[in-house]
Symmetry: C3
């Protein structure tokens, strides 16, 4: 497949249309802090959120869903069981699923769970540099949810993870890196205000699941998710006074984003 920046920009535009046309059903097993924002981001994008996260339902639903997000932010014991169910069912049924190993490394319960979920081969892994390094088994994790490593420091780890999972890995930062082991893209959009709103990163994982739900090209889906999300952030920043109005404008911008704006602003290399 051609992976030039020009092709990736065009696939981003066409996948955004696909998401809006098909409203992929995105199951989220995610943390208590960001469920609301995540659902609103999916709705603004044109996807259909479903926060099905209890044992006995999470597995069966992963077979129905177009895509699944598993985010380790506040993993209660019930959620951990639901995550195992959903990951296995998604892998078995061919539903693409995204793993966001929030704050692993320093925190023992989620770190053990992340290692376990790695064996179920997530379609996409998304994290900041410290989380990706920890997920690779090489680091000691960051400071809570904040990365203490640079994105480029995590690229080798990202490639190794892709080698193990056979999927895509995205490292978030000022410039995001997406790799599937064979191809790599660097994505330069976004705004620092996204880091001043809780769930700025977590909701992106759900958006990746939405895009992965409309195409089998998961590399292009991941690039499209990051680019659409971060271009919307740039549009929102122009309308914002601070983090409160930014979050509101971001949902508006995501709902109103058009192909011309994506083409004019996308920074992919």
């Amino acid at each position: 497949m051609t992976r030039t920046p020009e092709h990736l920009i065009e696939s981003t535009v066409s996948l955004l249309n696909e998401v809006r046309d098909h409203a992929p059903l995105v199951q989220c097993v995610t943390n208590a802090v960001v469920t609301n924002f995540t659902a609103n981001v999916l709705l603004a994008l044109g996807a259909a959120p479903a926060m099905v996260d209890i044992p006995g339902e999470a597995g069966p639903f992963a077979g129905i869903a177009s895509g699944v997000l598993i985010n380790l932010g506040t993993p209660t014991s019930g959620q951990r069981e639901a995550m195992r169910e959903a990951a296995l069912a998604a892998t078995n049924d061919g539903t693409p699923w995204v793993l966001d190993p929030v704050a692993i490394g320093a925190l023992p319960v989620r770190t053990a769970l992340a290692a376990e979920l790695k064996t179920a081969r997530p379609t996409i892994v998304r994290g900041n540099a410290s989380e990706i390094i920890a997920f690779d088994g090489a680091g000691a994790g960051g400071r809570g949810v904040d990365a203490t490593d640079g994105v480029e420091d995590a690229v080798d780890a990202a490639r190794r993870i892709a080698g193990v999972t056979g999927g895509v890995v995205a490292v978030s930062g000022p410039v995001d890196v997406v790799t599937d082991g064979d191809h790599e893209a660097r994505l330069g959009n976004g705004d620092v205000l996204l880091t001043r709103v809780t769930g700025g990163g977590c909701a992106l994982g759900a958006v990746m699941a939405a895009f992965a739900g409309v195409t089998t090209d998961r590399f292009a889906a991941t690039v499209a998710a990051v680019t659409v999300y971060n271009v919307a952030a740039e549009v929102a920043t122009a309308r914002a006074v601070g983090p409160g109005s930014f979050a509101v404008a971001f949902l508006d911008a995501l709902a109103g984003l058009d192909a011309d704006t994506v083409r004019a602003r996308a920074v992919i290399s």
Copy 2:
């Protein structure tokens, strides 16, 4: 009781004043996605939210509360026990309670729980057409939280449920239907942006509990809740750029809604 549209509009106006004057205490046992929005909707309306949802507290509190909402959106095992407690205590103590059987049909745990809660005779049942049909025992449920059936297709089911519970049933959709088996109203207010904000339906259940907390006329309370809520949505739409600014404007509109606006906009037949 007179059930003409004109009388229902006037009872809506007077019940809105009652809610603001008495600030009914509304206990919510609701899903993790919408707790924040639901509490903010109740506060904007003039009611007093209390999210008391753990076993050992949910039952006793249902005796103190003016109204109770039980929403099956993300029913953890602890919440399921709390829901049983709250439903039984509410029925025993005469506290009106609203059941919102979110996404039942396809999902086994909540479907079984909904059937069990039905026997406790909810004062008001609120759902989209697919949920109401599933609650009646006749359907296979919708697609996650989205209805795949039309509102009118669910009216017979709604009537049968009212016959079993002795209460009121509300079917949400472009035109909402409210029935207690004897009377029926069709409510034409609202805006599609409400479906682009998570909790747009869930918070309405809490508003119904607030209105039911200030009158023994639960049919009028349900009509008032739907009408006030949906008229506020129309006011908000005029000030919104997209779903983000709509949610903000909706809370402002709910807090500022006056009798003249309700009378000028209410569409009841």
Copy 3:
């Protein structure tokens, strides 16, 4: 230490700078309704939120965090265990921690837990008058989360609690009272719109943990937290149409608050 209003205003200004310079890591074990708003308030302030609230992680993390909030709003059984862990670890490691005994008195599970956590000697206790009186063991609690007692009625109880914990106690209301048993301050800022947004009080507890994370002077930290928070609310009110736009403007105001505004508006006696 000098405790004149003038000195407290200057320490408020300098502690706000400290928070922004050091971005204290604030662990929150808080209720499901307000996690999102609380995290956004901390981010707007310039602190780093981490909602680590499961057993096995909450304790170890309390040793890493700069400050800890324990809020009893929706205490699931898992959270209760995490709260015990976090409180003990914080006390052992010298991490300042804030206890917010939401709605204790009427509700049995959290009331027993609050009594237990009292023995771990919280650095700061924050509540409305009814909660503070109940925490002192003298009252029957309020009406859900709303105070039914006046702030001044709770001052003796606050002093007694400070005597037992050796820490600071803050009573929220139209005029807030802060006491450590030896010193007392009355803080007159704020706006009634803060009571129309859920988490208006709960997020303040997290802000106290942030300020306590940058100084060993916990009395000054508590005064600074209340003053910064309530001055931001006043700034936001001027830009708000109702509770929805107020919450948005409040986050913007918190992020943009400068020393001159604090000095011009602070009401401390």
